[in-house]
Subunit: 255 residues, 4 copies
């Protein structure tokens, strides 16, 4: 029995031909950064200069967060059990669920839903915070267990300002931060998940892709951990994600 | 019972502090491309300009290869079973094994072993091909089921030449291609796996990381397929990896 | 920094000691079937004779369903990419999501919610079907794409009757089948997912474990497919889940 | 393009028909235990009474080993990241690699290779231990980090004796234990992996299936851990696999 034909609009392949969203791979290799190519394959179109800068910043920002994230424990644990590199990366990505990286997705969903409503952005933010408060829902993308002020958030918004990249979702995001402070009486700063959620929403990405940007960014970090585990530790060791220390290079400056 | 302390030299974390290999994440966000950051986190040091260009080209080159690779089938099939995005990416990465993407790893291992020997590079290549022939081992990284001449390989070496990026492994790689033609009497052109193997070897990366560069590059492609499956197809459909057609944008030029 | 202590009530381990839910593993090895041990480890207590029979029947019933399920495609595809056995099983289990095996979980959730209400079981079933109809929700666990009457369902209820195993959830399940026929005017027979959902609910298992029984049962099937792929097929083959035929033993009888 | 047809000899499916290795699923549900059905689907034929008993004992023996195995950490960590049950099981199975459960596979491979040689079993065992000693290879399946004498091994051989189940591989396994003691001067008792390796080899299973029996057995244990994590712990908690205690039922007897 023949399978039913299906269609894809991503990449066209033939002998000597690889075209991503219509552009030849050799042209892409000549002209685009990896961040721009990521934008292209997910959006279907080339980014503007500002969008390319924001995509670069987003991917760079989440590349690693040390040994404590459960995804790192996942990757290292798969290596420790005696498995190949791809299984180790898969094992780490598998952990990136609703409680780990999921805030991007959820924050983007809420921002896209509320930014689509008509009206003044501050009033919308106030309405959203009231709604969350009444229904006892925690607003995802605000507050961080470790960082009082997440340095990545500030930098992301600074890069956005520098590139005149702004839109209704970033505005809403800032307005929510202020409304949370006013209505809850405590500072819940935008975290990197919330900031990324706002930026990808202003780029026009569906919130359901939210976790995806985090995964693309974090995979190289997971790979670094897999390789370190493979070359520095014994198999089947006792693994915990708190009892570690950093012994890499001291603080230094990019020239 | 307390766990034994362990060490990592990748990322140093503290309140308001995220330093990758000693560099503050905000500096990295200001100054580095994603490809450069990937180089940094895996190598521990910043790339030279030529290395940054090669890393960019490598990551861009393998971002997608249409619907036929088993990793794409893996990702789409996990979506089709009704699972979240991270499980779909994990499901695709899980497929990237010795028979799919594994040629980078194996080619890099062989090249690193033989390039480390003393002597003329052409004689080494001849010796290697003789060895493979005698032991009936297929040289990984040469020949392609679809492309007679892989356009990505030519472009990768062109970018290398343009940036004066060359080393003993790239030389060996070209010499092997010639030795294969002479000794086997048929053209087995360097494929993209072989080319990437040579380039990462000249960058000084351990061959055991080989599959990792492919995975970093391919994850955005898998994400695009996951999203297309999620938004365009019904759950639990009959899935095959041959019975599809391309219906995306026609050929176009990057301005 | 020491990790915070945590507790588990599953298995107590020490030198020469392995006790599952309080029972020594050597006693379990002497006295219990695997199905009984599965019941014990999940429920925390030994099954009655009827519960043991039902657990056996459930695990046996779902062991395999040929090559078309997406989980089989998942497992075979991971083997085809050149990966180890455990990755292949993981790749198959990863596919068992909301659209594949998820009906057990959802049907059990609905049955447990409605069976907990007071009142006559037929009136509850009628109310449930009205509710699903009004809200245009499809009742999970009823109807099958292939089998008009699922032979496993009939047998499962037959074994239940033979062992005098019955409870409010099985009654509700049968009442729903009748209410669906009356109110929708078409026969939507209980499928194996619905039957398993009713039986595990009458055993007192949380609906959130629903997919778990299916996974335990199906893993040996996935293993058989992984091994067949490994020993019978070439790597990186074109894989589809419709274009296959059966060439195993013809129909035969268990003596 | 139509996919190439492929064949499977596992399960024949049609409307109202599910036949595993030729036997109707309803007959199997009436007559076979789960362990017997596992044997059938993997071997293609029904087990003898003794084989059924051994398969039952093997599956029961490895169902769980408390919280310290890396596969348990894998499963719990995936739950902790906020993921569904099937992803949690997949995450645990993914960890079962060469260093965790791999000893069954490796021990079975060596036993099958050496038992196939002609000659006296004690001399073969002596030759094997000499070979391992000379080449500085550790014999897999002997010795245990926790148990001096693994209670599961003794019980497995006791059940084998009770059922008159014995063959060349079990004999070789015992002879190796003795040769190790004589030639290395220290007691390295057969562990449960080694014992299972010998038993499945005498059943005629390919060593490449070795890890598979462990996976089938351990999946219910992983499910119990996933459920406990889901219902007893908070998401994204700090997870280590040493800092836990047991708080389940005290020692008790199966009536």
């Amino acid at each position: 029995m023949a399978d039913q034909e299906w269609k894809s609009s991503i990449t066209d392949i033939g002998p000597g031909k690889i075209r991503v969203r219509g552009y030849d791979i050799t042209q892409i290799m000549d002209k685009l950064s990896f961040a721009e190519t990521v934008f292209l394959i997910l959006k279907g179109e080339l980014p503007t200069g500002a969008e390319a800068e924001m995509m670069r910043a987003i991917l760079v920002a989440s590349i690693d967060h040390g040994c404590s994230p459960p995804s790192v424990l996942g990757t290292r644990n798969v290596v420790s059990g005696g498995n190949p590199l791809n299984a180790a990366i898969a094992g780490g990505v598998l952990v990136i669920g609703d409680s780990h990286g999921g805030a991007i997705e959820n924050a983007a969903r809420i921002m896209q839903e509320w930014a689509a409503k008509e009206g003044d952005i501050n009033q919308l933010a106030a309405g959203l915070v009231d709604y969350m408060k009444t229904n006892k829902i925690r607003m995802p993308g605000f507050g961080h267990r470790l960082h009082n002020v997440d340095p990545r958030t500030l930098k992301l918004f600074e890069i956005a300002a520098r590139n005149n990249f702004s839109g209704r979702h970033i505005e809403l995001c800032r307005a929510i931060e202020q409304a949370l402070a006013e209505k809850l009486g405590k500072k819940l700063p935008i975290n990197v998940d919330g900031a990324i959620a706002a930026v990808i929403s202003d780029m026009g990405f569906d919130w359901r892709l939210g976790k995806g940007f985090f995964i693309i960014s974090r995979v190289p970090g997971l790979l670094a951990h897999a390789y370190e585990e493979m070359t520095r530790e014994k198999p089947m060791r006792q693994l915990g994600n708190r009892n570690y220390g950093y012994d890499g290079p001291a603080e230094r400056e990019i020239p």
